[in-house]
């Protein structure tokens, strides 16, 4: 079996220092100047960051393999600089028991491109009323610690309270998709002047904020960890900021698309821009960006949601909700947060790697690039531009950035010492 | 651009007088005559012909004998020349059955406008007869249409342009060929 041993030369770390990084097998052997003793890979112009960790991905397998599989999703993740993804539970069958999560875990392992950590459902079949096999899933091979009914909201206050209490026993966290179902019946896009003009049922921001307000108070009461998925409004950011100031153990994520895109894109009824939670206003976009900078939002998570072409080649009301985002995430975050001067690369690394690894409890991820750490590294060329094409690693074409030129391309991705991406090309694994 | 005047103001006046006499002669009087001008200049010409008839036959009632026939919606070139505005059609009698309709236009060229006029007329009723009076016939017919009363026959080449000016709409009165 071929072993890994190479040196990444002349690369910049997130703090700006220029170094060489020596990798042997799965670990970082040395970090210094002018290293030698192995094949040298010139990384001038690149920034070496801790491999990215996505806390919110939809891999669609089992059950929706026409949209994505664990293999294709893993490849898309690797292409985007990720070395770990958390696979959401709204598969078919739902990941509400040990058997399904172990299946997902095994498929992820055999694909081998990234660490695939299954997320378990909070309730059986996502029915919102009966708790799923939370303990068994945690005790299984998949070692689930993040639980979410994402796609749906745990709207029953009693069920949410019980879930928060229950997972305390094993340090779990409930990741809430905040959407009051009663306020969003038939909702299609952000509620406001535009939705009124377009005749599309509105999804009011308060339907998200009110659930978050309730849940942070429940988390405080119960003394448990809470994570809020895909925060999309200024109001929600305000509540989370208040909760953190109060010492409540809540973490929050924002998607790349909510950092850039707004509701105006719905004006032509192009369902590529139909997503849940919906694209909001520029005011919300600015609040979310500031929140990432000031720590109110802890991580960026893609909510990569693949759908086949037919699901978007129809009228808005018929179309599925969701956008893919693994391959473009780093570039969007760089463009909206680093290029605007709101954050530096150190914070970039925190929100895409350190923090999600910590929230997800993945000890093998989010490790600092230093001697002894596992070699999970994303090498980005911040200056390189690339055109977003239909041909991508994901099986699905529902990419809102199609045709756009983005800057900041992932050049190499290293997972446990092995290159999964070289020169922006996905590698075929199993040669080792 | 080379221009030459083929009819001056006086020529036009004389032509109108002659045409008005010819119309009355062929109709054997002025009864049941209906002059319908095709917008825009055909309308002015129809009025003038009617006024000329009235001068010589005071019993001729202009109110019930002159109108306008807009042919835009019956043209066969709507999609290639789309800019035309539809103007109102005014037919002063309710029943065309006994009427001899005289269509009046300024220039007869391909004949397609007159074909459209015949189609338009048919949707209003069935006149006893339809005649055509034009100020200028410049040849180059694309359809078997001919004028009954002609101010002037002007053989032209198809690259030439005929410009008719009347005082109702322009600041002078003349027919000019432009090359």
């Amino acid at each position: 079996m071929k072993k890994n041993h190479y040196i990444l030369s002349n690369v910049k770390l997130s703090n700006g220092t220029s170094v060489d990084i020596e990798v042997q097998d799965e670990l970082i052997k040395a970090v210094g100047q002018d290293l030698s003793g192995a094949d040298v890979i010139d990384c001038s112009g690149l920034i070496a960051l801790q491999g990215f960790v996505d806390l919110h991905t939809h891999l669609r397998e089992p059950g929706y393999e026409q949209s994505e599989t664990i293999l294709t999703g893993s490849k898309a993740a690797a292409k985007g600089g990720f070395t770990a993804v958390h696979a959401m539970a709204n598969t078919m069958p739902v990941a509400d028991n040990a058997a399904v999560v172990e299946q997902v875990y095994a498929l992820g392992k055999s694909a081998g491109y990234v660490q695939v950590q299954p997320i378990g459902a909070v309730t059986l079949g996502l029915n919102g009323s009966q708790l799923a096999d939370l303990g068994k899933m945690n005790a299984s091979q998949a070692k689930v610690t993040v639980f979410s009914d994402d796609g749906k909201c745990v709207s029953d206050s009693l069920v949410m309270r019980r879930a928060l209490e229950y997972v305390k026993a094993f340090g779990g966290v409930i990741a809430q998709h905040a959407q009051d179902p009663a306020l969003t019946v038939g909702a299609q896009m952000n509620e406001g002047g535009l939705s009124l003009r377009l005749g599309l049922t509105g999804w009011p921001g308060v339907a998200e904020t009110a659930i978050i307000a309730r849940d942070v108070l429940l988390a405080e009461e119960v003394g448990s960890r809470l994570h809020i998925c895909h925060v999309s409004t200024r109001g929600s950011v305000d509540v989370i900021r208040w909760a953190k100031a109060r010492g409540i153990n809540v973490t929050a994520e924002v998607t790349p698309h909510h950092l850039l895109l707004t509701e105006e894109l719905a004006s032509d009824y192009n369902p590529i821009f139909k997503v849940n939670p919906p694209l909001r206003t520029q005011n919300d976009v600015l609040a979310l960006r500031e929140a990432v900078a000031d720590g109110t939002i802890d991580i960026v998570a893609t909510d990569h949601a693949p759908h086949p072409a037919d699901s978007k080649d129809c009228e808005w009301g018929e179309a599925a909700f969701g956008m893919i985002g693994l391959e473009t995430a780093a570039s969007i975050v760089k463009t909206t947060l680093v290029d605007t001067g709101l954050i530096d690369w150190v914070r970039f690394e925190e929100v895409l790697s350190t923090n999600p690894a910590r929230i997800g409890g993945l000890n093998d991820q989010g490790q600092a690039i230093q001697v002894g750490s596992l070699a999970n590294i994303a090498l980005i060329d911040p200056a390189r531009k690339f055109k977003v094409e239909t041909v991508s690693q994901s099986k699905s074409p529902n990419n809102p950035y199609l045709g756009m030129e983005l800057s900041g391309e992932i050049v190499h991705t290293i997972y446990k010492g092995t290159f999964t991406v070289i020169n922006s090309e996905i590698q075929i694994l199993g040669a080792n | 651009m080379v221009t030459r005047t083929v009819l001056d103001a006086a020529d036009i006046d004389r032509a109108i007088v002659r045409i008005s006499h010819e119309i009355v002669e062929a109709n054997q009087g002025t009864s049941n005559l209906l002059l319908l001008g095709i917008p825009t200049r055909g309308v002015f010409l129809a009025k003038r012909i009617a006024q000329s008839i009235k001068k010589n036959y005071p019993d001729f009632d202009i109110e019930t004998s002159v109108g306008k026939l807009d042919v835009t919606m019956f043209r066969d070139d709507l999609s290639t020349k789309p800019g035309r505005e539809v103007t109102p059609t005014e037919i002063p009698v309710s029943n065309l059955e006994n009427q001899t309709v005289v269509l009046v236009d300024d220039v007869l060229f391909s004949g397609r406008t007159i074909r459209a006029a015949l189609d338009a007329l048919v949707s209003y009723g069935r006149p006893k007869a339809v005649r055509l009076a034009v100020l200028v016939d410049r040849g180059h017919r694309e359809l078997p249409i001919r004028a009954d009363y002609v101010g002037k026959n002007l053989p032209t080449s198809s690259t030439e342009r005929i410009s008719v000016k009347l005082t109702e709409s322009d600041d002078e009165q003349s027919v000019v060929i432009e090359q």
Partner: protein, 315 residues
Amino acid sequence: MKHLLSINDLDKGSAISLLNLAVEMQQVNSREVKKLPALNGRTVANLFFEDSTRTKISFELAAKRLSADVINFTAKGSSVSKGESLKDTVQTIEAMGVEALIVRHHHSGAANTIANSTWSTSAVINAGDGTHEHPTQGLLDSLTIRQRLKGAVDKGDLAGVRVLIAGDILHSRVARSNLLLLRLLGAKVGIVGPATLVPDDARILADFIYFNFDEALADKFDVVMMLRMQRERMNSAFIPNETEYSTLWGLSESRFKALSSETLIMHPGPMNRGLEISSAAADSPQSAILDQVTNGVAVRMAVLYKLLAQETSLK
């Protein structure tokens, strides 16, 4: 391709031009031979995925008066009720060779989707999509107002006219198209209804917002346009019950009698007599409700003529 999807596809000049063309079409409709050869040999398809009698018949008549051939597709009992997608339905009709699609659909934006897609190369006319727009209704309403208030041959705009639209603004595509067109033509428009059905966001669409019908009527509008109250709204907690709606926002006989005798009464139909509008108002000489129906054919002829015969875009 040239389409009519929304009033926003028009500018003031082209809107007035369409109204004037409709006046000419009214002439055609009052002759013995109600026919123009303009669309001879062309085929037009009525794609009605939502029930409608009056609009469908109106469009069919308009197309036939222009000598076009008409295909009628209704969703009931068709392939759509067996689950066929919009894309497949459109492509199937296209394959038979049509040049215009007149589309009514329950999803907002359906006509836009068809027009922007690769499924069809036909001109698309929106005959009502979800709660978005119903542009030909807006046009026929504006024509009715102009002719009743400014005379049958007036060729101008609606400057100085004040219109009040009353009822379920939130769910009304007729209201949206009217708000856009009336204001484009220079009229001032007020809206009134219960706050659950007249959202705050509507402030950008109208000149005046009221929640009290009597207060609105006291501000003297030249036209009062009543919208149909759909009974389903009672079940979704928009209003408590019919009687309350009727009492507070219905054009009752007494409210009607208190109006000036010059005030025009309009309703896009079908009416719920006794709910949003009393028979006293609907059947009075001030009512333009039947004019609206008549004008519908002329307006739709004008639109078809402009889009298909002249093949011009509407701006």
